[in-house]
Amino acid sequence: MGCRKVRWLLALYDSGELNSEEKEEVEAHLASCQRCRQELDRLSKVPALLQSLQGDTWWADVSSPVRERLNASSATSSLPRAKPIKTEKRGIIKGRPVWQPVLISLVAVIIIVGASLGAIQLWEGDDLTQAAAEAVRNDPQVQAILGGGSMEVTEVEIAGPTAYVSASWGESTVEAQVDVASLNVKTILCATCSSLGPSIYRSELTEDEKAKAIEIAEADPYVRKILSHGLTLGEPSNSSPVLGADPRRVAWLPFEGDAATDEVRGVIVNLDDQDITVMWGGDLPSWWPY
């Protein structure tokens, strides 16, 4: 086999894409051709260069826009509606509709129960703006990003159930989304945390939150049944595969000890209302507790 014919096989030699016959041909040729050995050497760096792109930390979080668009299209299109999931004994089990649009019709007044005072406070207009700004100022994660300095709230925009609050200190800026009904700080976008542009700040759960998540999950009888089959719950994280939920208030506990699988398997714990969702992708084992 001549150099010309072997040339394109060389480019695939390192990647396990040649059959044994092709491989033998290449090896026989390489043994006697210095030039093609050099060529192979120059080609073999290509996959490594392409893999260097995997060090990228940038990625596009499209969950919210996709959710909005899908909600809009499912409301208007003739696509079949979601079917409830059936299991044998439990009948029809529907999860909490995490992905439904939040049906909070916020008129002018938001009622907030002041837990410490036991009183009812009314927020409206400027007061709501102030309250949202205050919630962001007091948020420990915002403080951590902004270095705990005397941050300046530069903008508060209230759109429906969410207040968008921009705050900065020195060079650092964040945009936090605040749920106006509860005044909980939800997603934090940090424009200056990474050189690659705005990204969602995914803070770690606190140790208390992790402990609480494990406690809630392990107390659930259904989860206990699953765990009795040699599985354990992994470290809780907030990288929950649940869209639409506040990533800081939902813990994801993967099932571990299972044979290697790329399926999504684990427990989602909503730390606010203690709602639990068990996710099990792929085939069901024979012991599955229906």
């Binding site: 394109w8 060389l10 480019a11 695939l12 990647s15 894409e17 120059r42 080609l43 760096k45 290509v46 260069l49 392409l50 893999q51 260097s52 792109l53 995997q54 060090g55 990228d56 940038w58 990625w59 596009a60 979080d61 499209v62 969950s63 996709v66 959710r67 668009r69 899908l70 909600n71 299209s73 499912s74 696509l79 079949p80 509606r81 979601a82 079917k83 999931i85 439990r90 999860g95 509709p97 995490v98 992905w99 659930d220 259904y222 595969p241 649940v242 869209l243 639409g244 399926e263 999504v264 709602d275 969702t277 068990v278 996710m279 099990w280 992708g281 792929g282 085939d283 069901l284 599955w288």
Partner: protein, 185 residues
């Protein structure tokens, strides 16, 4: 307490039925790798973001029309690849790339993090010189880890054609990269 059980096949059925939770999981499972793949394809973050979004919306719309067992991951990558090649073709995105500056910087910067940043930009710049179909095969194989057989099914071309395309893409990439290393262009 809710239980979301997805048996193989059942998941696809849920997606075909437009089940929002099943789609949530799909978006979360694939948005990182898809958006990074698309970014490497088009070398433009905003465009990559739009294309990622578009990929999921197209998948959602086309899903009820699919039949039988579907390899979801390959199918999403097929949509993404077609989207990207289409955009590249229409926009004729031939972006200017500061070859020499990039190459010089990489020699001067001692900080390894920044070196790898520059290195990645170099790789993306070289990739950007390749026609879309070669770029796609190269990224799918050498960056995303699909094998030639899977790529063939994804792009609807024969195994032999994928291998030829991959071989050619690697040679083209290597040649362009070496030109940059020598400080040319």
């Amino acid at each position: 307490m809710a239980v979301l059980v997805m048996e193989r096949g059942q998941r696809i059925e849920l997606l075909r039925g437009g089940d929002s939770r099943a789609w949530e999981v799909v978006v979360n499972q694939y948005q990182i790798s898809l958006s990074q793949y698309l970014y490497n394809m088009v070398k433009d973050k905003e465009l990559a973001r739009d294309l990622t979004q578009d990929t999921f919306l197209k998948a959602y719309q086309a899903m009820p029309k699919t039949e039988g067992d579907l390899n979801l991951k390959s199918w999403l990558y097929r949509i993404a690849t077609n989207n990207a090649i289409d955009v590249l073709r229409r926009r004729k995105l031939i972006s200017w790339f500061p070859w020499v500056e990039g190459a010089t910087i990489s020699r001067e910067i001692s900080n390894s993090h920044e070196v790898s940043l520059v290195q990645r930009e170099l790789v993306r710049g070289v990739l950007n010189k390749l026609p879309g179909k070669y770029k796609a095969v190269l990224l799918l194989h050498d960056n995303q880890g699909f094998n030639c057989h899977e790529i063939g099914e994804m792009l609807n071309i024969s195994l032999g054609a994928v291998k030829k395309r991959l071989a050619r893409a690697r040679v083209m990439f290597r040649d362009a990269y070496e030109r940059v290393e020598k400080g040319g262009e």
